[in-house]
Amino acid sequence: MRLNPGTTATARHLWAIVGLCVVVLAAAFAIRSEYDEGVLVLVLLWATLSVAWNLLSGYSGLFSFGHAAFWGLGAYTVALGLVNFGLTPWLGIPLAAVVGGCAGALIGYPTFRLRGHYFALAMLAYPLAMLYVFEWLGYQEVPLPMERTAPILYMQFDDKRAYVVLALALLVAALLVSLWVETTRFGRALMAIKQNEPAAEAAGIDTWRWKMRAIVLSGALAAMAGGLYAVVLLVVTPDSVFGMLVSSQPLILSLFGGIGSLWGPVIGATVLVPLAEVLNAQLGDKIPGIQGVVYGVAIIAIILWAPEGVYWRVREKVTRSGLAGSEPRPRSAPVMALPQPRSGQGDLLVLRGVGISFGGLRALDDVGLSVQDGSLHGIIGPNGAGKTTLFNVINGFLRPQSGSIAFAGTSLLGLMPNRVCRCGIGRTFQVVRAFARMTVVENVIVGAYIGARDDRVAEQMALAALDRVGIADRADSMAGGLTTRELRLMELARALVPQPRLLLLDETLAGLGHEDLDSILSVIRRLRDEGMTVLIIEHTMQAMVRLVDRFTVLDHGRVIASGAPAEVVRDRRVIEAYLGRRWTDRVSETAAGDI
């Protein structure tokens, strides 16, 4: 067994965090001016917010334009707690974390129904709404009172370095949480969501739950930083904590530094926050307003040089010069216990009267289907017949409007895809849904989290699955660099790794050359021989006739024929559906068997 690659990387990151602490503390004690210390505190606070933002948006790809909501709630929790209840920020900041976490849950619950741009836009609305609410409540300006008797009890220090230490503590906390997320299944789940949410869901990842956890954590961290910001700034106004500038700050800093990486947000804050401040100081009183222009130009220039952010660009340069030529090592796959072949008795999957419409289109109409345990069952039909819709109904992407679906005797109706997956149904997609920026083995591990409690076990299961489909040697390659055949096999491995009883293969054979086709066919046959039940979609009949035990033919959402391959291909309705009425007539004239 090789070492888990995560362990050394984690250790490196931990050392880097220690290094960060040393550098920041050294800087705090080296600089003599309160102003510079103040800027250092701001760097650390904005870095914390950016790390918190990255935890949700960087890893999961769900862009939040609204992290000011958490920041502002944190700031107001601390400020109002102190003003109204005399609550010291020492307790106010932890309370802010709780408020931020709850706000994350409340915001995430409705907003995660939305995807992509819609999610981003909805997030934009929260801080803006809060801004008006706090104005309406009369909290336009909340100054934090100066505590003269026991300042330290109220987190008020004469020595600004105390704030540096506090802000550093928050940043380290955010980095540690982030690192924990990145190196566990939490992070892999988020990355899978980022690259392909439906695929993640179909692979058994409970995407909604992981996203909720991420936003709660992210909100709590952002709110803590906002709370300390209030202590440092001493005056809280809705604009200064809920404003657009606050929401855009973590976005700009993370994009600049390198999105989806632990250190990107820190790099962004370290460069841009002091840069903006220096520009304000140097140019603000001479040519007012020019600082904004210079700042913008600087960001554009660096983004042109490093479109994915400084971190990724530098890493790319370093790995290219330092590790050039180091090919991914082939790994030996552990032997995996194969599932016991089951006797092909009875029906594993039974659909009755399933129907679904999209507007006026009847995509599935009264579809009945029985898939025998241990059989290789093919679904064929021309384009638009409803084949993929049928799969989507079975694995929970779509909910049928009528009918029933039973798997091994239990109903699947109303289950989320990840639950269906947990019942023992794996699937692949017509267009391969790979996580391109993850390695092959990582792609497959994503599927293993259902069965495996432990991340190491998950990795072993993934390697075994890769071995089973015959591409264990590609385990460490990036998924983006695979051939079509390898991608299909990788996806197959991902579907296999939770050891399902039923596999749904959606046009796994499409677009393959002869040799590739044969190699995949042999894999599928072997799976069936090992006891797996396979339901496969194709629209080319040729390959299917050689492969399957039983056919079901769909046309315009209806089952038009079902039976053994040899019977089905002679069926008049099937020929008509594929080739049109004229062909049916000719076929019946010649009574020919072959098509």
Partner: protein, 413 residues
């Protein structure tokens, strides 16, 4: 005992020696060290214009002080203005203050930062550094924090609000109009305006027999004034408080009033804040539409300031002097006066002196209405509300009558 004797003897001898050669000890070629004062104001962003107006006033005062021989108590030391941009956020304003204090450790005082939330943040820094800070910001909170080195030259928002209503009633009666019975409020929800109307919402209007018949709040920037003004038209108050906070909103509201036949000649309209008296407002509307519009301020061109106004107009090309410029001008003179009295560029002593100061003559005394004297909280004693009115395309002071440059008229027919 012995050492003390030697030291005393030494001191005596050196004193005598120095007394003999005073000319050598203070060579005329070596100029006295500059006395540095600060201005923190928004010079970029949405409030940049106000910051520029402040800088114009402060620059003029500094030039005059230096032309007249600088600070006499310090051997003619020159006064020097250091400027920092407060930008458009509280964070930037506070950073500007911290930066100034780091880079200019020998500052003796300053003024700023225009917007009250900026001032709140800036004074948190200056107070800790014991730097005397003057401000024209209205917010009561600024001088409610028990700070020792913050001095508010404007009447506070609360005070201005309480002054405004009786003054308006007096104005109407003295103009021969009937005493107003009803009033309306159209306002945005910015900090200054919210605290301005707070007492009015708490039953304070009853003592004047006034009824609030329309009360509308919007969030700036305003996109459409129609629904607001429709409400005003149906309620028909005797006068209207129009509390916006920027020129574009002013324009939209005034044009809509005009369009609904509620122009300032029909419905007396009272604004608040200096933006309602800026030349920019005239540029985007017209003199006829503005005629009679009233607004409140803490300072404006007044009787006794004629020379200052003339010099200011000549220097800057501005058509008249407003609160921001005249206050910044006066603040520089107050600081100068304090340094003269203390006789040292020592910020703590200057701060203490400002609590005792009572300036009755010179530019500092002329620059403000009312005495130049601060109470324990740092508020200027008896600072009155100034009312400004648009008359023939000029925003002129009309109240208090003893210092106002023009006579007010009540616009209602």
């Amino acid at each position: 005992m012995k050492t003390a004797l030697v030291a005393a003897l030494g001191t005596a001898i050196s004193t005598v020696a120095l007394g003999l050669v005073p000319a050598l000890a203070q060579t005329p070629a070596q100029p006295a060290k500059d006395v540095k004062v600060a201005l923190i104001a928004p010079l970029s962003g949405p409030w940049a214009r106000q910051g520029q107006l402040m800088q114009m006033g402060a620059d003029m005062a500094i030039d005059e002080i230096n032309q007249k021989g600088g600070i006499k108590a310090l051997g003619g030391a020159k006064m020097k203005l250091v400027v920092a941009d407060a930008g458009d956020t509280t964070e930037k304003a506070k950073n500007a203050a911290e930066r100034l204090l780091s880079q200019e450790p020998d500052l003796i005082g300053g003024t700023g930062a225009w917007l009250s939330s900026f001032t709140l943040a800036v004074t948190e820094v200056t107070e800790r550094a014991q730097l005397p800070w003057l401000t024209l910001s209205y917010s009561d909170a600024i001088t409610d924090r028990g700070f020792k080195y913050v001095f508010q030259t404007s009447p506070t928002a609360d005070h201005m609000a309480r002054e405004m209503i009786p003054t308006v009633i007096k104005l109407a009666e003295s103009a021969g109009a009937k005493r107003p019975q009803t009033m309306g409020i159209v306002m945005d929800n910015t900090a200054a305006n919210v605290s301005y109307v707070k007492p009015m919402h708490e039953g304070w209007l009853d003592q004047y027999g006034l009824k609030l018949v329309v009360d509308q709040v919007y969030t700036p920037p305003l996109s459409d004034a129609t629904p607001l003004i429709q409400k005003v038209r149906s309620a028909r108050p005797d006068f209207l408080l129009l509390l916006s906070s920027n020129v574009p909103d002013d324009k939209m509201l005034l044009e809509k009033l005009d369009e609904f036949g509620l122009g300032t000649r029909k419905l007396p309209t009272i604004g608040s804040g200096t933006h309602m008296g800026t030349p920019e407002l005239l540029k985007v509307t017209d003199a006829e539409m503005l005629e009679g519009l009233l607004t409140g301020a803490s300072d404006w061109g007044l009787k006794g300031q004629e020379d200052i106004i003339a010099r200011f107009r000549q220097r800057t090309g501005e058509p008249w002097i407003n609160q921001d410029s005249i206050t910044a001008y006066g603040d520089m003179w107050i600081l100068k006066e304090a340094v003269e009295r203390v006789g040292a560029a020592d910020r703590v002593k200057i701060g203490d002196e400002l609590h005792k100061i009572d300036i009755t003559e010179g530019p500092a005394a002329v620059a403000y209405p009312g005495p130049v004297k601060f109470d324990d909280k740092g508020r200027r004693v008896d600072a009155p509300l100034i009312i400004v009115q648009w008359q023939k395309g000029q925003a002129v002071s009309v109240f208090p009558t003893d210092r106002a440059l023009a006579k007010a008229f009540w616009p209602a027919q």
